[in-house]
């Protein structure tokens, strides 16, 4: 077990009161496995990613434990924390244009990452050797003319190129787990397909674990081994991708699967989820999905269902009591 999340809670203090972004989450990711966290905006999936790399804003507080390769992430401090970020857990952010420093050339930024990693480990750093590693990394992400790309500034690159530079950085850092937070939502479908293919190849070649965060199940389906469907800060369903897609059990998962455009309007309406995700300052009582659920029962309004094991997956729903 590479990543183990136990009883994770994340709260934000805001001027409107306490916002409960994640309420008790347990799951784990094996070595070389990829798990996709799927859910709508505001379900807490990005907070989860940021909590694992300890990049939550100062107004956030967390409870529970996150363990990466036997290391308790929440107790790391100072130097240990710097050594952990990037080299053990590496995060790719949503907007490629914000993930690089705009006033530094690509080579400076990539070399800086290597230098920091080496210094943290107490190893020696040789700029020429590091440059070769960086060029190999760029070749590894199928980037043509890596020497030219290295001398560019981020604004001279396209979104797809920047995202590949960031993935190349992950490649040279060789983290144990790659956390990708909507890495393709700012990209075109063709470039998205290139990036997804790349992440998949890296996972196969280097045995990297991947935590893929997205709102689009179809994108996640191309890379994930298991789906973790999140709603309003809680786990709704967790299971192997093919089983979840062909036989979704939680009404929320059913709706997510059906809302992907897959037919023509002549064949009828797409299934959509009525309403919008709850305001997390005052989430609904009982099951948090009950106001939008097509199969709502009386018990759903009164009592939040517990997580149950059903065949090959975990579920939080009263329908399967």
């Amino acid at each position: 077990m590479l990543l183990d999340v136990k009883g994770l809670r994340v709260n934000y203090r805001t001027v409107y009161g306490n916002l409960e972004a994640i309420r008790s989450l347990d799951f784990s990711v094996e070595k070389g496995e990829s798990v996709a966290i799927v859910g709508e905006s505001g379900c807490g999936k990005s907070s989860l990613g940021h909590a694992i790399v300890r990049l939550l804003p100062p107004n956030a507080s967390y409870e529970g434990s996150v363990t990466v390769d036997g290391k308790d992430v929440f107790t790391l401090k100072g130097r240990e924390l710097r050594a952990y970020r990037g080299s053990e857990a590496f995060m790719i952010f949503q907007d490629p244009l914000n993930s690089l420093n705009p006033v530094k050339r690509v080579d400076r930024q990539m070399l800086e990452a290597i230098r920091t990693q080496r210094l943290m480990r107490g190893e020696s750093y040789d700029e020429e050797e590091a440059t070769r590693v960086v060029i190999d990394g760029l070749k590894g992400v199928r980037m043509p003319d890596p020497e030219i790309i290295l001398r560019r500034y981020p604004h001279e690159l396209s979104g797809g190129q920047i995202q590949r530079v960031v993935i190349a950085m992950a490649l040279v850092m060789k983290p144990k787990i790659l956390i990708a937070d909507e890495p393709t939502s700012a990209l075109d479908v063709t470039i998205q397909a290139q990036v997804m293919k790349l992440i998949k190849e890296l996972k196969a070649e280097y045995g990297m674990s991947v935590l893929f965060i997205t709102h689009d199940m179809a994108v996640a389906y191309t890379v994930a081994d298991r789906f973790l469907v999140m709603y309003a800060g809680e786990l709704s369903e967790l299971g192997p991708v093919d089983r979840v897609v062909t036989d979704p059990l939680h009404p929320y998962t059913v709706a997510l699967v059906n809302s992907i455009p897959h037919k023509s309007k002549k064949e009828g309406d797409l299934v959509s989820i009525p309403g919008s995700p709850p305001n997390m300052l005052s989430p609904p009582g009982g099951c948090r999905f009950h106001p939008r659920c097509p199969k709502v029962m009386d018990v759903c309004k009164a009592e939040n269902p517990a997580i149950k094991q059903a065949e090959d997956r975990l579920l939080r729903c009263h329908l399967y009591d």
Binding site: G160, A193, Y221, V223, K265, L270
Partner: protein
């Protein structure tokens, strides 16, 4: 009865690349650099149909949409609206019948206006009274599935992404247009909300007997909403035809590549085209797709293919 809502013949839009200053442009003898956003395009949009314009960023699809909404003037070529040739002096008349919905509702709506102010703004030039304005506001809002009383005095910041895009659609339909250009109306939305908005757009299209130009980079969305598809690549239409046929049997290698790039719940494998959209300043010679094309032949590098009709589908490729 008109035959076409819009018809374009050799429609072209070049932008001057502004890499030089004003004085330089007076003194310098170097030729101007042009960005060929839309390059000699022919197409027709029939009354009541939904034409989807599909392509990557930088393929010129948004520029084409803006030209139909008269927000850009063509450099060359002719545009016909309702079988009449469009010139600059017709813009005011055309704008009464043509509306546009933009990609990101957060940017395209004034944050300081009330929802009622935003939606009824297109009516300000017509001499309708307050009472009739209220009535039209209520009708438009109910068509997009929002409650007029609750939302009238709210601001955009109070609404969710899906609700904002509904407001943008209400603003587009209130003046009773015949044609709406929708520029990536769902790409800023969550997958679940996208389904709501697509259903809504399809329903409004039916109820109001509208004609749509639907711009998107997602061919799965195009499949759901459209009757016909036009695929654009680097300023040119490379394939157009009935949606079902183009999707079931894509002819142009670029269309095939687009279809294989769309993630679905049926396959784990994606087969994207290699490389990126070419710069519109220095376009490749011959067929514009040839550096990325898996079937490239010698003729592709030298001569640009013309549009050829095979059955119901038109395709610009030397393979045919």
């Amino acid at each position: 009865m008109t035959n076409t809502v819009f018809k374009a013949k050799g429609l072209t839009k070049y932008f001057e690349a502004s890499k030089r200053g004003f004085v330089e442009s007076l003194v310098s003898r170097q030729p101007k650099i042009w960005v060929k956003a839309v390059d000699e395009i022919d197409f027709e949009i029939m009354p009541g149909e939904v034409l989807a314009l599909v392509g990557e960023s930088g393929s010129g699809k948004t520029t084409l949409g803006r030209m139909l909404a008269t927000l850009e003037t063509s450099t060359k070529g002719d545009l016909y609206f309702m079988d009449e040739k469009v010139s600059r002096k017709d813009y005011r008349r055309i704008r009464r019948q043509v509306q546009m919905v933009f990609q990101n509702p957060t940017d395209s709506i004034d944050p300081r206006m009330s929802i009622k102010g935003i939606v009824t703004e297109p009516l300000h030039r017509s001499d309708v009274g307050e009472a009739s304005k209220d009535e039209q506001f209520a009708t438009a809002l109910s068509l997009v599935g929002l409650d007029a009383k609750t939302f009238a005095q709210r601001r955009v910041r109070d609404l969710s992404g899906g609700q904002r895009q509904r407001v943008a659609v209400a603003r587009a339909i209130i003046s009773n247009p015949t044609f709406i250009a929708l520029d990536e109306p769902t790409s800023a939305l969550d997958a679940s909300v996208q389904a709501q908005v697509l259903n809504l757009l399809a329903r409004i299209h039916d109820e109001l007997k509208l004609t749509y130009l639907f711009i998107t980079h997602n061919i799965a969305v195009a499949r759901y909403i459209s009757d016909r598809i036009a695929v654009m690549y680097a300023g040119k239409v490379v394939e157009q035809g009935p949606t079902e046929e183009v999707i079931a049997n894509p002819k142009h290698p670029y269309t095939q590549a687009l279809l294989k790039s769309v993630p679905t719940l049926k396959t784990h494998e994606l087969v994207p085209p290699s490389g990126e959209v070419p710069s519109l300043v220095g376009l490749p010679t011959g067929c514009r797709f040839h550096p990325r094309c898996p079937y490239v032949m010698d003729v592709c590098k030298e001569k640009e293919p013309a549009m050829r009709r095979t059955g119901n589908v038109e395709v610009a490729c030397w393979l045919y």
